[in-house]
Symmetry: C2
């Protein structure tokens, strides 16, 4: 709790970022969305309207407000307006089904639900089953969206007051957002973020991606994912410009990069792969562009493609439970002396903790640090200001995740002699074949080196003799051709034979809303009726 008598202490809160930019950069463009342009003054006024309208409609501190909305201005406004009231933002993944959304709304106990009309049809069937939602606000961004019964966003804002909304953050450890994990097994868990954690992580993103007031940030990463890695706050902190993007579409992305002078964007490698394999990709960018990527290690091929067009890659790693990115693969001066392949291998590592984070560890089952030999597998664990407060109304899972005073990521990795971590897999992504541990990531990296391959996912499939066998699901580039036999042969030249796939299926890959390949979908199919923790 903050001692208000202290002249020398103010609660850390990301709300201070918008307050400052609205003051300092009042007339500067804060948000670009299609033809719309909001200055920081206008953004702030819209946020104040949202906060006061919510308050007028009975929202109280600690209440939850859910948003089912793509990367449009309303979603950014939610990150400030709701918090100003002292309430908690619950961003919902727009790819979820009605049943899943129903669970999240009831579990979070959301009092307000804001829905982009594209997703009315997701809500409509569950309306009668929502236990706590009292108000629905329709966000009518698409002209053809069919609204639910309830107010419309712009008229809701119009009912509010644009004057500065007086807020006071008494406890910097109060919850500001609940981000539900995708929950591939069991029920989704609600990851709680605090003012303090979000403030520090936003600054951390600022240093990692080197934002400044000249930056123009394109929203290729969903804001509903870890509050957009806290860039909803971090970009605002530096008085930079947000470029909203309703839908990830490579053509639109390249157009906006050119047209709006985009300097920064974030995305999983699959999003970047789609961008870089698109016909509109320029040969050379006219302006500097920093692409920060996470979710999977960028393949050497991808890194090369990004550098070819003159962009800079930043490789980071984290989880929903760590406010998004938590480690960064800081580049070292002496890497410049290595050849491109060696550099790419070093750069594919997840790296070291952010400036604002505590050191990460890789530990064995007794929570002892594994040797820093780049070989011994252990679990990656974290703690500190950039670790979630806990899972909302789930003390059991919270205690489990926080065993021994550290957050257990469930990611398996090694510690290199230079202190950089490298993920080898989610524990469930390790394939055990004939008693050997095979890292599915390693096999994927090998297959990615083949120029015909666009995307690949490797899993273990049931095998009578070996327990599991290695299987690859491959999506080829447009027009590319290669046979299963040729690709397996290619692999055998790259990695140990026992690690190579025994079968390859050419197909498209199932993905999450944030572009992560959903291996569990592939596994479910392969393991149907058999025992494996998917």
């Amino acid at each position: 709790m903050e001692d208000k008598s202290k002249t020398y202490r103010t609660s850390l809160t990301p709300l201070s970022f918008l307050e400052r930019s609205a003051r300092v950069y009042a007339e500067k463009t804060a948000v670009i969305y299609n033809e719309k342009r909001y200055s920081y003054r206008e953004l702030s006024e819209r946020v104040n309207r949202l906060a006061s309208a919510l308050k007028n409609n009975g929202l109280q501190a600690g209440d939850r407000v859910a948003f089912l909305c793509p990367n449009i201005p309303a979603m950014l406004e939610a990150h400030y307006g709701i918090l100003q009231v002292g309430a908690i933002l619950v961003p919902l993944n727009i790819r979820l089904s009605s049943t899943e959304i129903k669970y999240l709304l009831n579990h979070s106990g959301a009092k307000f639900l804001f829905v982009d009309t594209e997703f009315s049809s997701v809500i409509e069937p569950i309306l009668a089953e929502l236990e706590t939602v009292q108000h629905i606000i329709n966000i009518q961004d698409l002209s053809d969206g069919k609204p639910l019964k309830g107010q419309e966003y712009e008229s809701f804002l119009a009912s509010g007051n644009p004057e500065p909304f007086s807020f006071h953050v008494e406890d910097e450890e109060a919850t500001i957002s609940i981000n539900y994990t995708s929950g591939t097994t069991g029920n989704p868990k609600g990851v709680m973020y605090t003012h303090r954690g979000a403030y520090l992580n936003a600054l951390g993103e600022g240093f990692a991606s080197q934002f400044n007031s000249e930056s123009v940030y394109l929203w290729t990463l969903p804001m509903f994912h870890c509050n957009g890695w806290c860039c909803t706050w971090g970009v605002t902190a530096l008085g930079a410009t947000h470029v909203c993007l309703r839908k990830v579409d490579p053509e639109e992305i390249w157009k906006l990069i050119e047209q709006e002078g985009v300097t920064h964007l974030n995305g999983a490698p699959v999003v970047l792969t789609a961008m870089l394999n698109h016909a509109d990709r320029p040969k050379k960018l006219k302006k500097s562009l920093t692409i920060t990527t996470a979710g999977a290690p960028p393949s050497p091929t991808l890194i090369e493609q990004i550098r070819e067009i003159g962009a800079k890659v930043v490789h980071v790693y984290g989880l929903t439970e760590t406010y998004g990115p938590h480690t960064i693969c800081e580049t070292q001066n002496h890497w410049a002396d290595l050849d491109a392949k060696e550099q790419a291998l070093l750069f594919a590592r997840q790296g070291v903790a952010y400036v604002i984070a505590d050191p990460v560890r890789v530990v064995d089952e007794q929570m002892q640090d594994v040797p820093a030999d780049g070989k011994t597998l252990g679990e990656v664990i974290m703690r500190g200001n950039n670790v979630m407060k806990g899972y909302y109304q789930n003390p059991e899972k919270t205690a489990e995740a926080f065993q021994g005073g550290w957050f257990h990521s469930g990611d398996m990795g090694v510690m290199h002699p230079d202190g950089y971590i490298e993920l080898k897999d989610r524990s469930k992504d390790i394939i055990i074949t004939g008693g050997e541990n095979v890292s599915s990531i390693e096999v994927e990296q090998a297959i990615y080196r083949n120029p015909a391959v666009l995307e690949v996912a490797v899993i273990g499939v049931p095998h009578e003799k070996w327990g599991e066998a290695v299987k690859a699901f491959v999506c080829l580039k447009e027009g590319a051709q290669i046979t299963e036999k040729e690709l397996i042969e290619f692999c055998r030249n790259e990695i140990a034979h026992y690690k190579c796939p025994t079968t390859i299926e050419f197909t498209t890959l199932p993905k999450t809303a944030t572009g992560k390949i959903q291996k569990f979908v592939l596994r479910e199919k392969e393991w149907a009726g058999q025992q494996r923790k998917i």
Copy 2:
């Protein structure tokens, strides 16, 4: 107090910055000093040795350790080694007299005193009068320095342990440094900094000057001044390189900028003026250089000179009580459309609070905000994480400074319609002549526009009829010539006649250790025997 059971909370402390850089940038150059090069591993080992040696010699948490030392590696090491023990660093201004130093040592109750042998002669006469100092450590950087009785720094380090020193910051609001103000009237006051404040301000400097791991920072600003504006910590945070500098010497500065590839330096305008008027100034710099300046508004001439050589100027403002810089004159895109003179006027303003600071205010005597009209004079007040904890063992002065829950800077300024503050003067620097308030800064800026002028200080002097008259003390550039009459005439073309000096004295100007012109020295002489709050 930190709750250690919280996985999601770690105390904010600048100690984490060195811990991280020693891990991440182990073999990178952390410190350059003449022929010496310390990697981050070596710096960290030296710091660990310092901490353990201090502990072995009886230093305990909360104890004070004084350093009388220029900008050499030992001074940087002090900023970590002492804090690791939980003790408090007391940096001493190397220009102070024996009597002044005696007061600071006794007032702070320093247990250890580290002295660069250049300053042995300052300590020697007061040795018998030091009430609390138990250990003296001589820093033998100069070959001809005569040590006092006590250990030598390098052998003291050798007695310590280079292995990681285990530290734990339980309370992030614990005091880490006491920085004494120069105290132009009354006794010096000991400004207390905390872990939390220093951590946040260090990050703030990172954003203000845009540090990254490639930065090379030249120590033109004394480390004993606000802990080098917290750059002792901020430069380390980003894994950048410190270039130590024993003495501010323009020739040496230009040599180091070229030789070591310096990208950043900080200094008061007088230091920059000396640099830019030196024969070794290059026509164009080969590498980008950011010069962050505070202490007085940079004159339009100075800004132009800096830009001419291809460097970037950042104008910041603060006080010892605000961890050094607290506001920054953020540049706005639309300023580019204005002519150079208008731009310079906007840029000479002190600006807006740092990203990590609370908004600053300009208030009248009832602590009401003055109108944001750029005209109404008021006092600049601050609060928040980047305001000192208080004055050490001086509750009375602390209460006085913190009246109404805000820190009273004593600086008089205006609030412009765009939310930028502009200092008009320390309250005592306002000249009241014939009932009119004259800002001495405004008169100085006018005189600076004359190309013959190197430096100027304007004060009020006693005048029978008008109460005070305006007097200027001017130091001309080498070889330049201008008469008193000509310069007054020049002034009358620039500003209102009543603001122009009635007398001008050509002389050299008295300065503080940090290069600030000491107007009180000039005033003391002029007001000898008369009533004025100097």
